[in-house]
């Protein structure tokens, strides 16, 4: 379990060291803080995406959610002069509600997560553009939410608050995922939903909750991004951000088949993605290659991880065979037999007694 995270951390360290050696500006305080800020911004919703991916699902709607919730949030603060705590609360509840609707469609109406959240991506984006008539929303010169702005985009002793938020949320979700009953259910459902159901786990509720959490974190991210950019243009705000989250989660060890992944992995995956983007700039690689670099690293990372896992599994299988040699051999034989004989052989194992 921890091996993967350690490997990822080493990769991160090596890449940082090499980049730093080529261009020391990479390791400058300013650049590190800038990266920390971006890691915080992109990490928060990647955590939610990770939970969804562990259920075996996917959430493609996050970027559009940012746009829709973002324009509503700015409108609440500027046009309607809603006090910021209420605006914040409404946006968070909006995120939870959108996640809840998606979770309902996926679990109760048995729709595929890809389709539900793809439609979410289209609908939220369209709604945001229609609501604003495609015009950019931003803060005026007033200080509608200077307190919240300071909280969202300020820093403590130089460390960006976004990064601090990420750490706090990661710790909370880490406990939820790795120490709580819910987390255990989430992994069980992701690995084998049927066995989980046969054990009395309310699998629908467990899965829907993951989407709700993801929606709530999208609400948090919306607020952080709004104060990062200070304006929202509904057609481009948050475009493709869900893909960053998916990439971070996969790079961090989540399997799209479900049941695998860790919070630490997702955070490290996000960090690695941001470091890669940064090094493209720092090393003077043409900016247009940005995506290509990211794609290549993810591809190689996942491939290497698969190869290592396959090797580990082979080793474990050999060890297991050696441990229980005569017994387990007998057993695989019997199982082979019934697999081949299928319906024909349900009693044969009894006949040889």
């Amino acid at each position: 379990m921890m091996k993967k995270e350690l490997g990822l951390f080493l990769l991160l360290a090596v890449i940082s060291a090499v980049t730093g050696a080529i261009n020391p500006a990479f390791l400058s305080f300013v650049n590190l803080l800038n990266m920390a800020n971006l890691i915080g911004l992109f990490g928060v919703f990647a955590l939610g995406e990770g939970l969804v991916i562990i259920t075996g699902g996917i959430d493609l709607s996050l970027g559009s959610m940012f746009a829709l919730l973002g324009v509503v949030f700015i409108d609440l603060l500027t046009t309607y002069q809603v006090p910021w705590p209420f605006a914040l609360l409404l946006v968070l509840m909006g995120g939870l509600a959108l996640g809840g609707i998606q979770g309902f469609l996926i679990t109760r109406l048995k729709m595929q997560p890809f389709i539900v959240t793809l439609c979410g991506l289209l609908i939220y984006r369209g709604a945001a553009r229609y609501y604003t008539s495609d015009s950019t929303r931003g803060f005026g010169y007033g200080d509608e939410a200077s307190t919240l702005s300071n909280i969202a985009s300020g820093n403590v002793a130089g460390i960006p608050n976004t990064f601090i938020f990420l750490i706090i949320l990661a710790v909370i979700l880490g406990v939820l995922l790795h120490r709580s009953v819910y987390g255990r259910w989430l992994y069980a459902v992701g690995k084998n939903e049927e066995a989980a159901r046969f054990s009395g786990i309310r699998t629908n509720l467990v899965i829907a909750t993951a989407y709700v959490i993801s929606g709530g974190l999208a609400g948090v991210s919306t607020v952080l991004f709004v104060f990062y950019t200070n304006s929202v243009s509904p057609s481009s705000f948050g475009n493709f951000y869900e893909l960053y989250a998916i990439a971070a989660a996969v790079l961090g060890g989540c399997s799209l088949r479900g049941g695998e992944g860790s919070i630490l992995g997702i955070v490290l995956g996000t960090a690695l993605l941001q470091v890669l983007q940064n090094l493209v700039n720092i090393l003077g690689i043409p900016n247009s290659l940005n995506f290509a670099v990211m794609g290549t690293v993810i591809l190689i990372g996942v491939l290497a991880d698969q190869q290592l896992q396959a090797r580990r599994r082979r080793k474990a299988a050999l060890a297991g065979l050696a441990r229980t040699a005569p017994k387990s051999k007998e057993n695989t034989r019997l199982q082979n037999a019934s697999a081949h004989g299928a319906a024909a052989l349900p009693t044969t194992t009894g006949d040889q007694a």
């Binding site: 009953v181 066995a195 309310r202 017994k327 034989r333 019997l334 299928a342 009894g350």
Partner: protein, 508 residues
């Protein structure tokens, strides 16, 4: 005697540790309907798979029209005119009838693109469907056809390759009575055209009405052959059984206590027009026997809340209980050890420890946070109690042998408070040693006052372990046997839907 079309001699098939077929001889004449019968697991389907070229025999010779084959490939079998109408129909529901009939042998139009010639295929299928009296067209989507109609498509497919022998494996298991009659007419017609049919069925009535000759398999051997004028239910059943059953039985420590689980008028989704009545007392092991597909697993799934109950009531100790979901059932102390432990019983990639506590994790948690040491303790206790052979409770269940995996499933339930436990084929694929451990466990649970229902297709197990045996036939309970009535003959009679003979009739 008519000309021999096909002959199997000395066919054996051994899997490591299992002898599925042992020196089987079978002969099929032109234009004859050969009935093939035997208990669950007697080797019928394996034999037919050898014939269809799906599996290779370990020994023996297949002789078709004078040519000998040591084994056949699927293509050779097809070329030799052997066609298979599968038990579970192998059709592509998303394609139309003609495309299914010609699947893999599509007629191509000329021209450089070699496109599929749908018109030609449909034209060729039309007369076949007419011959079978089917009232759908070649361009009908298979998805829109009933089971009986799909069977006609399979038969049309067989006719399209000029089949000489058509194998039908339990063809009527999902058909209504009138559809069955229609099928029997089609079989008579095939026979009149000189096509032979190998008819495998548990329904002895159908065998009686259509077979010219019956071959009986038992434990992978041909144990008898009955000519048309020798056919009778009694004769067939007598040949199907006849093993000496080993004594496995441990009597209960005390007589069954009052109370237990009553299943009253329960209707399951598998047989919406049948009701099931069954009671199992505390402290007893009730064997639930029947042929595959008789509705035993559906009953267990319904009582455990996996499938909805369409009617009836479940009572524990005379109090009705609602089981809308497995969670409800578990709260009532109704547990199910499922048939497919890898799919439904365990999360294979999780360690033993997490599997054991999967259903009861909230009991080992405070404020939803798992108490690791309490969890470890209970998992270790269960591993010791059930003697699960594993180096540690932290290794993944996937690395365990079948018997140990089953014990992990048991550990999951025994760490809680069972009142009624369903075991669905509890020892399938499990070695002999682990089997007797599981029998001993069931007995000790019963002695602690748990009501136990053991679904099993293993006759030795049913007769050797149960205190009473209920037999299901086509969705309802066809009879309940007390220990002094236990015999393979009686179980089988009830399983094929025959009434028990009275004592006098049996004695005479």
């Amino acid at each position: 005697m008519a000309e021999t079309l096909l002959e199997l001699s000395g066919i054996s098939k051994t899997y490591p540790g299992v002898r599925a077929l042992d020196d089987v001889n079978l002969r099929v004449c032109r234009g004859e309907v050969l009935g093939l019968i035997g208990e669950n697991g007697a080797g019928k389907s394996t034999l037919m798979r050898v014939l269809a070229g799906v599996i290779a025999p370990s020994a023996g010779v297949i002789r078709i029209g004078g040519t000998e084959h040591a084994r056949m490939t699927v293509n050779e079998a097809t070329l030799a005119g052997i066609a298979f109408v599968h038990q579970e129909l192998n059709l592509f529901e998303n394609l139309d009838v003609a495309a299914n009939v010609f699947i893999g042998r599509e007629k191509l139009a000329g021209g450089p693109l070699k496109l599929v010639d749908n018109a030609e295929m449909r034209a060729r299928v039309t007369p076949l469907l007419e011959r079978l009296g089917a009232d759908f067209t070649p361009s009908t989507l298979v998805d829109n056809l009933s089971i009986a109609e799909r069977q006609m498509v399979e038969i049309a497919k067989a006719l399209s390759i000029d089949a000489r022998v058509i194998i039908m494996d339990e063809p009527t298991s999902s058909l209504t009575i009138s559809e069955t009659e229609r099928l029997l007419e089609v079989i008579a017609d095939l026979k009149a055209h000189g096509i032979s049919v190998i008819y495998i069925s548990h329904r002895l009535g159908e065998i009686m009405s259509c077979a010219d000759r019956v071959v009986v398999l038992r434990d992978g051997r041909t144990v008898g052959e009955l000519a048309r004028d020798e056919l009778s239910h009694a004769a067939m059943i007598r040949l199907m059984i006849g093993r000496d059953l080993k004594a496995l039985y441990t009597p209960p420590a005390h007589t069954p206590q009052p109370g237990g689980c009553d299943i009253a008028g329960v209707v399951t989704t598998a047989f919406p027009d049948r009701q099931i009545d069954l009671s199992v007392r505390r402290g007893e092991i009730l064997g639930l026997a029947g042929l595959v597909g008789a509705g035993r697993t559906s009953l267990a799934r319904a009582v455990f809340g996996i499938d909805p109950l369409l009617g009836g009531e479940i009572r524990i100790d005379n109090a009705p209980v609602g089981v809308a979901s497995p969670r409800d059932a578990i709260r009532q102390g109704i547990y199910l050890v499922p048939e497919d432990r890898k799919k439904s019983g365990l999360v294979l990639e999780l360690p033993i420890r997490e599997n054991v506590t999967l259903a009861s994790l909230l009991d080992y948690a405070r404020m939803w946070l798992v108490n690791g040491s309490a969890e470890r303790k209970i998992a270790k206790d269960q591993a010791r109690r059930l003697s699960i052979k594993a180096p540690s409770i932290d290794i993944e269940a996937v690395t365990l042998s079948g018997g140990n995996q089953q014990k992990v499933v048991l550990g999951k339930w025994l760490s809680m408070q069972p009142r009624v436990m369903f075991f669905d084929e509890p020892t399938r694929g499990i070695d002999v040693g682990a089997k007797s451990e599981i029998y001993a466990l069931m007995r000790s649970l019963a002695d602690q006052g748990v009501a136990i229902v053991m679904i099993s297709s293993d006759m030795e197990e049913v007769i050797g372990v149960s205190d009473r045996v209920a037999v299901m036939h086509e969705g309802s309970v066809s009879g309940v046997l007390e220990r002094d009535q236990f015999s393979e003959y009686n179980v089988l009679r009830l399983a094929v839907g025959q009434a028990l003979e009275t004592m006098e009739a049996a004695a005479s």
